[in-house]
Subunit: 327 residues, 2 copies
């Protein structure tokens, strides 16, 4: 089968590519061809089949048609401008996150008008489609009232995915990803970055800044779990979804304090001592508007699986990123 | 003040124009100028102030910018391809209902980037943003999972209206209109047409066809109530809406049987005898997927008002369309 990953150069895209190359198949079908698209070309992995890594801007006219003209059987659409940037640059956010997604869906529809074509499309949505006030745990029937432009664009993407699937143009599955911890790489400026920083940096003997109080609660899954969601979405029986094609992924609801205690169990007091509390009002206010907990019944009943403790999440990081060693 | 009505030639647009001309003011501010836009030019009413009736296609590039360049203070966006047509012609539905709405919002945003500008925008959404399975009564926090392309396009319009309002580009209010009965004019081919036909035609001594059973329940408001919603939305304090800018309008939940009994009270057995039952499986199936009842608490608390009986709805029709006489 031919798989297209749009947004292949990002953290999730790279890990997904690795997982696909390692598995060599999806749902029992061998992967013959991988097309990796992103705004900058991803690194092409060592792979027995055909691999093509392309620099492609999905929001530019013609890009989607060119990618879809090769009729991939399975498409992962991970490309997006992140929350902070979509808020700072209104036009860019709509161009990439809304127009880009729509161009992709339109390219698939038009390709199907030439000869039958209905690929599986896995779309990464976000818990940012939800806006406060929240119930204690957000259920599968909670309404989408995003409070950011990013969340708005993702909510629109979900609606389009439903409609294009209902009309038979595509076989779509959307997943609202939890906040990913432990995010590998360097600390970044995302408002949510500290959730990962306070684990990743001390686990490598480095200092990290905690800008909020320890009782802040949020919704997490590991990068490993996120890749699991995407692979499961690629093969799930979509008849079970009806026309509500996006599901809130399972995850772990935990406080910053629980993160810190799990860090202590994994790497001791010395690691915890590397966390410097530096309260930041702006970040605290942003985080206060975020979901804290979900009741992800539907995803669980569909077979999606996530970690059930922060210890597991930290262990996944130590195994996948640190070669099994702490220090 | 300068008022722009987009979709001014339709039934609601014409009644709204009449109501505005009659009132001469909105929220205490005299109306100095009326711009009436539609795909075909509306009839310009007799009016003391300036009136301009334009043939304008909102989905054509440049149209929205030209309309907004005149900086109207209050905009009613009523233009839409209806449900059946948006389902039959996928591209046209998205072009008018999604692109048209987005062009309008973008034109307002860009006009505001030249000099401060934040007009009130009243947007007509629809109960089609909701899809089965429904609760007994749809509350203000029910999720939008449309089962038509039209409903999808309206749900996206609501999301955009929220985001553009939150960002300060526009001061938006959306209203999900109930099915309008009694719709004046000739019977049309809309699947919902019979709800009006079985009242309007017998009230004028003509036959009407009833394609569904009498226990079918649906959600109604009169044209008079609909105009009341729009005028109220034009002056409401939007701080009370927060960033959930669209409300489900109040209405009347009634069965076809209740419609018929109200017709009997207004015009006797002779009128009821003009209804011919001609069961139609296709229409019955479509109607089965529609909302039956709402709990419109929020709209009521915001001061929106509708009829509380089918008798009132019929009386409004007799007064507004039949000069007070039945026969």
């Amino acid at each position: 089968m031919h798989i297209l990953i749009i947004g292949a150069a990002g953290m999730v895209g790279r890990k997904l590519t690795q997982a696909l190359v390692k598995a060599g198949e999806v749902g029992g079908k061998p992967i013959e061809r991988l097309t990796l698209a992103d705004i900058v070309a991803a690194e092409a992995p060592a792979f027995g089949g055909a691999v093509e890594a392309l620099a492609a801007d999905l929001s530019a006219p013609g890009t989607a048609a060119a990618l879809i003209g090769k009729r991939p059987d399975l498409i992962f659409h991970l490309a997006a401008i992140v929350s902070g940037e979509a808020e700072a640059d209104f036009e860019k956010g709509y161009r990439i996150n809304l127009d880009g997604t729509r161009y992709l869906l339109e390219a698939i529809r038009l390709e199907g008008s030439k000869a039958p074509y209905q690929p599986r499309l896995v779309f990464t949505s976000s818990i940012a489609v939800f806006g406060a006030p929240f119930p204690e745990a957000i259920g599968d029937e909670f309404l989408s009232t995003p409070l950011t432009s990013y969340g708005t664009q993702k909510a629109i993407g979900e609606l389009l995915l439903n409609d294009y699937s209902r009309r038979g143009f595509v076989d779509g599955v959307g997943i609202r990803l939890p906040t990913i911890v432990v995010r590998p790489g360097k600390p970044n400026l995302a408002a949510s970055g500290f959730f990962s920083n306070i684990l990743r940096e001390p686990l490598s003997g480095k200092e990290a800044v905690l800008p909020v109080s320890r009782d802040v609660r949020h919704w997490f899954a590991s990068p490993r779990a996120a890749i699991g969601f995407l692979l499961h979405a690629a093969t799930i029986d979509t008849d079970r979804l009806g026309w509500r094609r996006t599901v809130s992924a399972p995850g772990l609801s935990a406080t910053v304090g629980e993160e810190i205690e799990a860090l202590r169990r994994a790497a001791g007091d010395k690691a915890v001592a590397l966390i410097r509390e530096e309260p930041n009002e702006t970040i605290a206010r942003i985080v206060a508007g975020w979901p804290r907990n979900f009741d992800a019944k539907r995803a669980l009943s569909l077979g999606f699986r996530a970690e059930s403790s922060m210890d597991e999440i930290i262990r996944a990081h130590i195994e996948d990123e640190l070669g099994g060693r702490v220090g």
